[in-house]
């Protein structure tokens, strides 16, 4: 047999026998302890839900069904999303649309959030940009029935507010624009938690400052 049949375990050095390296370890923990005590945050713990992590513009969260300017759904019930879904969580029933140019619309459009794996395949598949994802990840249900969300609920959070959108089709020029905004915001430093904290502080300070501004004017 070409391989050795006896393991050779590590041999302790004299310092290790005398427990000396423990002092170095204690210095490390002391450094972290004092650092955290004096406010130099070296921990990444976020105090959710007061603090929130700032996710990227690609975050795959709760789905959104987008609308046309008149408020109707863009979805034409082509079933591509339901076909592409590896978890088989999308249920669509198609109906005839009064407008002949649109032809079809979904009478029922349900997503079972407990089955969904948030892979984003539905967004990739959609030929109408009718389904996109938000960066909302707060999804808690008290029973299984309420985990099935209907098209009304999926349409509700629809907004073009950049801060609330997640994974969706993107175009190169848009990407550049977003990158610039991000660079300006962070000035080269990647600090997700800090960003979240700043945003939260700004939100807390925001209404008051705007109120005082209104009063002074």
């Amino acid at each position: 047999m070409p391989h050795s049949d006896t393991p050779e375990p590590y041999r302790y050095t004299l310092a290790e026998r005398l427990y000396l390296p423990l002092l170095g370890g204690m210095w490390v923990t002391l450094r972290h302890f004092v650092g955290n005590l004096l406010g130099r945050r070296t921990s990444y713990t976020i105090e959710y839900p007061e603090e929130r992590r700032a996710y990227s513009h690609r975050f795959r969260g709760h789905h959104i069904l987008t609308s046309r300017p008149d408020g109707s759904l863009r979805c034409v019930a082509c079933f591509l999303c339901a076909t592409a879904c590896p978890a088989e969580c999308i249920h669509i029933e198609a109906g005839e649309h009064p407008d002949v140019n649109v032809e079809k619309y979904p009478v029922v459009y349900d997503i079972d959030m407990l089955r969904c794996v948030f892979c984003g395949y539905c967004v990739d598949a959609c030929p109408e940009e009718a389904i996109i994802m938000s960066n909302n990840y707060d999804m808690a249900f008290f029973n299984r029935a309420s985990s099935v969300v209907t098209k009304e609920e999926l349409q509700k959070p629809f907004t073009y507010d950049q801060a609330r959108l997640g994974y969706r089709p993107r175009y190169p020029e848009e990407e550049e624009q977003r990158a610039r905004a991000r660079r300006e915001l962070q000035a080269g430093r990647v600090d997700l938690v800090g960003e979240a904290r700043r945003r939260q502080e700004a939100a807390a300070a925001g209404p008051e400052s705007s109120k005082s501004a209104a009063a002074s004017s």
Partner: protein, 565 residues
């Protein structure tokens, strides 16, 4: 790069005529062996100095209902001294699906044979314990057979649950001993890192015999893959080794790309390598962190999880998810890299080593940890190979085998890295190995960043493989048709079969895929690196205490998602 030498046919003279048929495979030589000759061929392949196939990588069944000989048992072998690969196929009849057990030749065959029995009903004669392994005791039929309905459910009632009662096989009489105690750890136990059940018989504090039960997280990934398109399998692969799901994505996509004869563009390969190495770092951090927390060194868990948190942030910026990334597509990436990708990677390269060094300072030379880990669950190189080990655990036993070095895929041939090897084969060396590999991975990432990000597309420009850009799909008829065809019918992979492997965080992660050209995989078999490692857990625990067993389990990095698929 060592070229795989095609092994010489074994001493065929001593075998009856026609027992071995040599076929050229797409990827590696394949021998079709008659089952009567299997035991002899296997033994010769292992012992013959010309071949020396000492590592049984994988064993799986395949079902071909249209063939006369319906089932096929497929063995994947690797020869460490000769760096050669070989696939053995053994066809058997439906009425008589019996093969000789190879457990005497390679101990690794133990659980693999149980799995093939469970999934296909192949009976291995001479196997001492041919029970179901992934499904439960009340399960009827064999789920990976083509005629098994995937929607069938079986209920396990309490009276049918298997009750293990491991007894030592030694010759000592019970009268000499104190009363023995059998204790049950898991399946739901914080030290079990997932859901496994270990039943151990103790003599005082020493484990004299034990039995491991797995299958609590079995979701039949392989059956699900057969009912979905090639593209749809990617989110499932995330859930194999969920600590480093990106590597699974890459492994699967590479395999399918190879089978289709396409290559991902350089930009995608470059990014996939960087993110794979970051995933490896993350996986090692989780493994070492949890081993340390199991042995009482809680602080290190937090230090180890901080780099992981940052790496998750990078992955999320690239693909929109932290844990189950689904970031790769066949032929490239899901999306182009974010513009601040390089800056973020550089930032990580600066911050990750700080935490690793902190852990290094706290525990690596700390005698309390050394006493818990040095010499614990030591396994020799020979035994580790016999048990089918790969990856960091095998290298900790002194065998210099790393897929990235032995078969440099992607750009691994062009970057400079070392394959660390330790000789102890114990918990401490597995820990040291992972710490060292983190540094090697960081060095690989640094070299890749220094090479600069290649320009060009992030996914192949082939409408039969990759979805056309969204603007084209909205505005051009042709792109629209391709878009619909690709979603409705899936990627059309030409018929063929292939085994491709990458170095996963736990060892050789292989995908054996068979396509029949129908648009869905005919069979996908994952070679899970921690399956053979877990199979030898009983053997490792023998003679240790319960606390040793806990430390051992942490150090082996068993991931239930990958183990039970």
């Amino acid at each position: 790069m060592p070229t795989a030498t095609i092994p010489a046919p074994p001493l065929l003279d001593s075998l009856p005529e026609g027992s071995v048929e040599v076929v050229e495979g797409l990827d590696q030589p394949t021998w079709i062996v008659r089952r009567d000759a299997l035991a002899q061929v296997a033994r010769q392949l292992r012992d013959d100095p010309e071949t020396q196939f000492d590592l049984l990588l994988d064993l799986c069944g395949v079902d071909y209902p249209d063939r006369d000989e319906r089932f096929e048992a497929v063995y994947h072998l690797y020869s460490l001294p000769r760096a050669a690969r070989l696939r053995l196929k053994v066809p058997v009849l439906e009425d008589d699906p019996v093969l000789p057990s190879l457990i005497d030749v390679w101990t690794a065959a133990d659980w693999f044979e149980r799995e093939a029995w469970d999934m296909f009903g192949l009976r291995f004669e001479g196997h001492p314990n041919l029970r179901r392994i992934l499904t439960h005791e009340a399960f009827q039929g064999h789920p990976l057979r083509k005629d098994y309905d995937p929607a069938r459910r079986w209920i396990l009632t309490e009276d049918k649950i298997y009750k293990p009662n491991p007894q030592p096989t030694g010759s000592e009489s019970v009268d000499d001993m104190f009363e023995r105690m059998t204790i049950n750890i898991g399946p739901s136990h914080p030290a079990m890192h997932g859901t496994f059940r270990v039943v151990a018989t103790l003599d005082g504090e020493v484990i004299v015999a034990s039995e491991v039960e797995i299958g609590y997280l079995h979701r039949c990934f392989e059956k699900m893959a057969e009912t979905h398109t090639w593209q749809q399998v990617i989110p499932y692969t995330d859930r194999l080794n969920y600590c480093s799901s990106f590597i699974n994505n890459v492994a699967y996509c590479r395999t399918v790309e190879k089978l289709m004869g396409i290559e991902a563009p350089p930009r995608a390969v470059w990014a996939q390598m960087i993110l794979s190495e970051f995933s490896r770092i993350m996986d090692h951090c989780v493994c070492n962190g949890s081993t340390l927390v199991d042995t009482g060194a809680l602080t290190n868990f937090w230090y180890m999880f901080q780099p992981r948190e940052e790496i998750y942030g990078l992955l999320e910026a690239c693909c929109g998810a932290r844990l189950t990334v689904s970031a790769c597509r066949i032929g490239g990436l899901l999306e182009d890299l974010p513009p601040d990708f390089e800056a973020r990677c550089r930032h990580l390269l600066e911050t990750v080593p700080e935490f690793i060094d902190d852990v290094d300072k706290v525990v690596t030379k700390n005698r309390i940890w050394l006493d818990r880990s040095v010499g614990v669950a030591a396994i020799s190189a020979e035994e580790a190979v016999d048990h089918g080990w790969t990856g960091p655990c095998l290298r900790a036993s002194g065998v210099d085998y790393d897929v990235r070095r032995a078969y440099p895929y992607d750009l691994y041939g062009e970057v400079d890295f070392e394959v660390p090897v330790f000789q102890g084969g114990d918990v401490f060396d597995r820990y040291r190995m992972r710490m060292e590999e983190i540094h090697q991975s960081l060095s690989i990432i640094r070299q890749l960043l220094d090479r600069g990000m290649p320009d060009g597309p992030y996914i192949v420009d082939d409408p039969h493989v990759a979805l056309p850009p969204k603007e084209d799909a909205y505005n051009q008829m042709e792109a629209m048709i391709y878009h619909f065809k690709l979603i409705m019918d899936g990627i059309q992979v030409p018929p063929g079969e292939l085994y491709h492997m990458v170095e996963g965080a736990n060892g050789e992660l292989g995908f054996y895929v068979i396509s029949d050209g129908s648009g869905k995989p005919y069979r996908i078999k994952v070679r899970p690196p921690c399956f053979p490692i877990m199979a030898s857990f009983s053997h490792l625990m023998q003679g240790g205490t319960i606390s040793d067993a806990i430390a051992t389990l942490g150090g082996l990095n068993i991931i239930a998602g990958e183990l039970e698929r």
